[in-house]
Each structure stands twice: as C-alpha cells, then as structure tokens.
C-alpha cells in the first residue's frame, strides 16, 4: 500500500511540474520522470511487459522525439501567465476531476480476481494480441507507417 502512495505522490508531483514549468525543457524532464514512475506503477499491477514497453516506447522514443524537437526549435517563449485564464483552466480541470472521482464510487469491481503468475508477461499478451487482436494489430502497423510518412512530408523543408 505504501509503495502505491509513494508512487502516486511522485506521479502527481511530476505531472504537476510538467504542466506548471515555465521552461519547456524542465517540463519535458518532468514528463520523462512521470513516465518512469508510471512504469513502476504498471509493475505493481502485474503488467511487467507494459512497464517495460512504457519505458521503451514512451520514455525512450516519444520523449527523445519531443526533446529533439525542443532542441531543434529552441523556443524562448517565456510565457506570460495570464492569471484569469489559468484560474479558469484549473477550475475546469478540478471540476472534471471531481466528476471522474465521483464516478469511482460506483460499485466498481471490488473482488480482486485471482491472477495466474504469468499474467502480465509477454506470453499472455502476445497470445491474446496475435489471436483476438490480429486485425487491430495490422491496422496499428498501417497507422504507424502513415504517421511516419506524414511526419516526414510535413516537417520537410520546402525547397
């Protein structure tokens, strides 16, 4: 239980940093930290494969990409913080969070189902991924391909 609270606290801390940091690089770092803590959380939920993936894909790929873009553009926009707008935004977010929390008290799944040892492991995921979710898997690969082509086309420097 304690582990969960620590991790939860860290996640919230870092995610708040992501949002509130004036300097883009700091918020990028904060995001990376958030992802790592999330990965650990996944582990506590018996999803080792996804934890690893999280680190590999998210922290590794996407974060690098974001940092790369930040380095490429080195934006200096030290953003002026219009108070009224911040207030409004955060109020909205808080309201949303309340609603979601209220949802939670619905009779959610209380009994904790017994879970086989290799639950989160690569075999079980692969087994279900390539049987039930074969079609979505194919589509996902097409999606990635399109994304890559799109990104290249967009970011190309017009000659």
């Amino acid at each position: 239980m304690i582990v969960f609270f620590i991790l939860a606290f860290l996640t919230l801390l870092f995610s708040l940093l992501v949002v509130t940091q004036r300097n883009v690089v700091h918020s990028a770092m904060a995001l990376a930290a958030t992802l790592f803590v999330m990965a650990v959380l996944f582990l506590t939920l018996d999803a080792p494969m996804l934890g690893v993936l999280q680190i590999l894909v998210y922290a590794g790929a996407i974060m690098i990409l974001i940092l790369f873009v930040i380095m490429l553009l080195n934006p200096l926009s030290i953003e002026a913080r219009p108070a009224a707008w911040w207030m409004l935004g955060s109020l909205g977010a808080a309201a949303l969070c309340l609603q979601l929390a209220a949802l939670v008290h619905r009779p959610a799944v209380s009994a904790e189902a017994a879970v086989p040892a290799s639950f989160g492991g690569p075999e079980s995921i692969a087994q279900s991924l390539f049987t039930d979710f074969a079609l979505p898997f194919g589509l996902a690969s097409v999606l990635l391909l399109v994304a890559i082509i799109g990104a290249v086309a967009l970011a190309q420097r017009q000659r």
Binding site: G92, A93, A95, L96, A102, L103
Partner: protein, 627 residues
C-alpha cells in the same frame, strides 16, 4: 307627372363644356363664348317652358337611371322640378346667360377663353343638377361639383400663386362644410332606414319627416346647416368668399353672388320640413344669420378693393337670408335670394366693367370721377346700389323689409334679431354709397396713363348690366303687399308662413318706415363723408381692425392651420421615420446585433474550443450522474 324635358337643362351646358374642352381653342376666337352662351340660353328657354308647365303644387319628374344600388340603399339619377326649383332654375339659367354674354366681352382678349367658358358651363351644369336633384345624394353631387368649379374658376389665372391659393382655400373650406353635410346625410339615411323608408328622396323624406326622432332631427339639421355655412359663406366658414374675388369678375358675379352661395339657402328651403322639426337649429340659424350680416357689414365698410366690398356685402346679404330661414320665413329667404341675385350680379358686373375700363385697377382709392366717362355702368350701378340699400321701389326694399318684418313678427322672431337686421340695413346703405361716391363721384385719382384710355365697356357688357338693373327693380314687384304673387307660388313647397295675419298692421308700416329711414341715413352719411372731396382720414385702431377683417384669417391660421401643419410635420419628419420605421429598422438592427455576438464565439483559438468541450463534458457528467 313625368317628362324627359328636365334632363336637357343640365345636359346642354355639359355638352357645351365638353365641346369647349376639346375644340374650344381651335374653332376661331369667339366660338367658345358663343357656344357656351347659346347652351345656357337653351337651358333658360327650357326652364321657362318648365315654369309655364308648373302650377304651385305640381311636380315634374324625370328619372334617368339607377346610380348606386346597395340594398337597402338606392340612389337614382332623377330630376324633379317644383315651384322652388323653377324659381332657382330661372335665376341660374337666366342670370347665368346674361353673365355668359358679359364674359364674351370681358374675357375677349384672354388666351384661356375656351377653358374659362368650359368651366363656366360645367358650373351651370352642376348648379342645375343641384337644384333639379330629387334626392340628397344627387344634390350632394351638384353641391360638391359647384365647389369644384369654383376652385377651377377662382384659380383660373393660375400663374399668380395668390389665385390658386384662394382656389385651394375655397375648395378646402367648402369641403369642411361638405364633411358635416355628408355626416348629416348618413345619419338621416340610417334614421330613415330605422323608420322603414330607406331612401333619401325628398318626397320620401317629406312624408317620413314627422316620425323622425326629435333629437336626431336636431343633429341632422345642425350638420346640414354647418354644410350650408361652408357653401353659403356664413360664420365661421365664410373666410373663403372674400379671397374668392381672385377669380375673374364674371365668376364672382355668377358663382359668388347669384347662384352657388345661395345653395345653402336653397338647402334649408328644400328641407324646410326637417328644419321646422328642430326649433333649436332654427334659432341657431337665425342668430348666426343675423350675426354674419352685421359682422360682414361692418367689415365691408372698411374695404378698399371694389370687389371685396361686394364680397362682404354678399356674405352680409346671405346672413339676411339665413336670418329669414331661421325665423321660419323660408319664402322670404328665397325671395331675397331671388332679388339679391339680380342686383348683386349687376353690381359685380358693374365693378367688372369699371375694372375693365381702368385696365385691371381694383383699388377704389385710385378711382373716382367715372360718372361721366362710364354713364351706362354708372346708372346701372346706382340702381343696383339703391336695390341693395333697400330703397323703394327697388326689389331689395321689398325683400329686405319682408325679412325684417318676419324677423320681428314671426313666432321664432324677436326684437333683438330685428334690431341687428335694422342696423345692418343702415350699414349696407352706407358702404354701398361710400363705394359709389369713391368710384364714380369726385375727381379722378387715377394716374394719367390710366385715365387716358378709360372707355365705356362694349355693348356685350352693358346690355346685361341694363337688363339686370331693370330686373333689380321689377323683381321686387312679385311680392307687393297688395298683390302678393310670390308667397302663394312657393306655398306648396315651403308651407304657410305669412305673418300678415298677425294683424299688427300698424307695426308693419312703422317697421317699413324705420328701415327706409335708416337706409337714407346711411346714404346721407356716405355722401357727407365721401360725397365731395374726402374729408375723413381712414386710419385709427377701429378702422385698422375692420380693414384687416378683424384679423380672422390670421386667427384661423394661428388656431387651426399652423398647429395642424406642425403636427403633420412632426408626424412626417419625426414620428413616421423615427418611431415606426425606427421600430422596423430596430428589429433588423437587433437581429444583426445578436448574430454579431454569436460570431465572436468562433474565435479561432483552439484552446477556447477545448475549454468549451471541457465544459460540455462536465455538464454531461453532472446530468448523467444525478439522473
């Protein structure tokens, strides 16, 4: 008995008018005048024929066709001629013909001659329709038709804005009278409908008159009387007549002296059975008649324009006629109408010939000494003047005395009314002879250039003058106390109202003596003041107000015209565009405003949209959770 003779009396002048409109100008210089005069002469002959055919209580009827029919209302174009109509017809066509003859001379060198004669004929047409009509609606057609012709003829010389303004004023003031007349007709019809006799024919009215509710009868007669004041220029609607002098003189003679202005008197005479039912209205008529007579008489004293004096004199004489009608002596009123037509037309034509001789000059202060230069005009003018003043043996004496007698002796009459009438008689004599002396006697005050070519009018103008002058004398003998032809002739139509049986014979001679006396005093005063050289200085506050017609025109302008135009102006400039149009454009503006604010919602800022999205989801949650 029915005949198809009557229709030709109006149709002849109408045909001539139409011909003149289309071909008048083209067929030679004098064609229009001759055609017009011939047409009216034709009508005069037919009128004489009708007069022969008629006996006091006989009625000739001539129905053409049904004009308006909307069950239960039915109005036919049909003419009737009884004793009263015959008299009026003789006046209209007879004097009308003389005036047409006179106009051929007077308008000889006017380039709009054809148009003038067309209008004059149109007038005779409408006047004869008015007199011959056998129902009130056709009467109203004639009534407004003559108003139209007076508008056209007053504004005949349209190039001078003053003339056309006078024309407009005449038509509009007449229209105000017609407004009341129309309401009277409507009220009368529905009252008759209530009595089960839905018709406006005079015959039907006469039969059903007794059953009409008294207070409705009073209202109806009041409305008709207001109409009559409009047409016959009584207080308060007399203001148009003096300005009507802007028209050519023959017009003033025919329309504003002899015929049209008497339409009001004819109306009261024709509907005497209604007026008798409403004693209240009768007394009002008498009072207004007397008041107008005196009022106009005083103004006439101070006028310097030769025609304006005669105009106010006409208003005053009409006051006498209404005074007579007011005291129930309708036949006396019509008799005065009859004689007045003669001498007033003669005076106007005389004045016309003076103006013609003086090259258009109308201001008496620039005239004088024309006695020898215009002998025929002078003598006819003198005779007519004596008639107007009411000196025996002229016609005016007989008709005016009969009215004064009735005013005193008749059941509705009173000493006060007689007194007012008596004073006015004196005034009349005074202003008449003041004019005579100013124009014809003394030394000529005209500039040399004008005096050089003063000449007697051509025969075409002097003959009518002579005939009318003779008429001014002879007309009176119809009602000599000894051999009274007039009363029995109109008795059937106008009912018995002869005060003679009252038996105060002594009073009668006394009254006559008094009237003639004051007339002579008036003439003497005029001679004393204006006879030889001018002794009296015409100024001072009293004279000023009289000369300015008691500032009545200015008062009307201030009380009615100016506020009305101001209100209309406010409505047209501020209210209509501002408030009503404003409301319409306001609605349009409102819609544009709302849509403009709607447009701002699409700010293009992605985050605004996301925020809106967020709010939306929250609301859905809120709704979903609470459900």
């Amino acid at each position: 008995m029915t005949t198809n003779l009557l229709r030709w009396i109006p149709l002849l002048p109408l045909a001539a008018a139409v011909l003149n409109v289309f071909f008048g100008g083209r067929w030679g210089k004098r064609f229009a005048g001759i055609l017009a005069s011939a047409a009216v002469f034709g009508s005069f002959l037919i009128a004489l024929r009708v007069f022969m055919l008629l006996s006091p209580d006989a009625v000739l009827r001539d129905t053409l066709y049904t004009w308006i029919e909307s069950e239960p209302f039915k109005a036919q174009v049909s003419f009737q001629a009884d004793a009263l109509t015959a008299v009026m017809l003789l006046v209209i066509t007879g004097i009308g013909f003389l005036i047409h003859l006179y106009s051929t001379g007077y308008m000889a060198h006017d380039e709009g001659e054809a148009r003038f004669f067309a209008y004059l004929n149109l007038f005779v047409f409408f006047m004869s329709v008015l007199v011959l009509a056998d129902n009130l609606l056709l009467f109203f057609v004639g009534w407004e038709g003559v108003g139209l012709c007076s508008f056209l003829l007053i504004g005949f010389w349209y190039e001078d804005p003053a003339n056309t303004t006078a024309g407009n004023k005449a038509f509009i003031v007449n229209r105000i009278g017609d407004f009341a007349f129309l309401l009277g007709m409507l009220l009368l019809f529905w009252e008759m409908n209530r009595l089960g006799v839905p018709s406006l024919d005079f015959a039907a009215l006469k039969d059903a008159a007794a059953r009409i509710a008294p207070d409705t009868a009073v209202l109806i007669t009041l409305l008709f009387f207001i109409g009559a004041t409009g047409k016959s220029a009584q207080i308060p609607l007399y203001v148009w007549l003096p300005d009507a002098m802007a028209g050519p003189t023959p017009v003033s003679a025919l329309i504003h002296a002899a015929t049209m202005v008497t339409a009001g008197v004819y109306l009261t005479a024709r509907l005497n059975f209604l007026f008798v039912l409403a004693p209240y209205t009768l007394s009002l008529i008498a009072i207004i008649g007397a008041a107008t007579a005196l009022f106009a008489g005083t103004i006439a004293v101070a006028q310097n324009d030769i025609k304006r004096v005669l105009a106010y004199s006409t208003v005053s004489q009409l006051g006498y006629m209404f005074l007579a009608a007011g005291v129930g002596a309708f036949s006396a009123a019509v008799f005065h109408l009859f004689t007045h037509a003669f001498f007033k037309a003669c005076l106007f034509l005389g004045a016309g010939s003076v103006i013609h001789a003086m090259g258009g000059e109308q201001d008496m202060r620039k005239m004088g000494g024309l006695r020898r230069r215009l002998p025929a005009t002078y003598w006819t003018y003198l005779i007519a003047g004596l008639a107007l003043a009411g000196i025996p043996p002229t016609a005016g004496f007989f008709s005016k005395d009969r009215i004064l007698l009735e005013a005193y002796a008749s059941p509705h009459g009173s000493l006060a009314l007689w007194l007012v009438g008596w004073i006015t008689a004196g005034l009349t004599a005074f202003y008449m002879f003041r004019q005579l002396f100013l124009v014809f006697h003394g030394t000529s005050r005209a500039p040399e250039s004008v005096q050089a070519h003063v000449h007697e009018s051509p025969a075409a103008m002097t003959i009518p003058l002579i005939v009318l002058a003779l008429g001014s004398i002879a007309a009176g003998w119809l009602a000599l106390p000894s051999r009274d032809v007039w009363d029995p002739w109109l008795q059937a139509v106008l009912g018995r109202s002869n005060p003679a049986e009252h038996g105060e014979a002594v009073n009668e001679t006394l009254l006559v003596a008094l009237t003639v006396g004051i007339a002579l005093v008036g003439i003497a005063a005029a001679y004393f003041l204006y006879g030889r050289e001018r002794r009296v200085r015409e100024d001072g506050p009293l004279w000023g107000t009289l000369a300015q017609k008691y500032y009545i025109d200015e008062l009307y302008d201030f009380l009615f015209v100016r506020p009305f135009t101001a209100a209309a102006n406010w409505l047209a400039r501020a209210f209509d565009p501002g408030i009503i149009d404003g409301a319409v454009n306001g609605v349009a503006g409102l819609v544009r405003g709302i849509s403009a604010s709607g447009r701002r919602l699409q700010s293009g800022n992605v985050q605004h949209y996301l925020f809106a999205f967020l709010i939306g989801t929250i609301l859905i949650f809120v709704y979903w959770l609470r459900r």
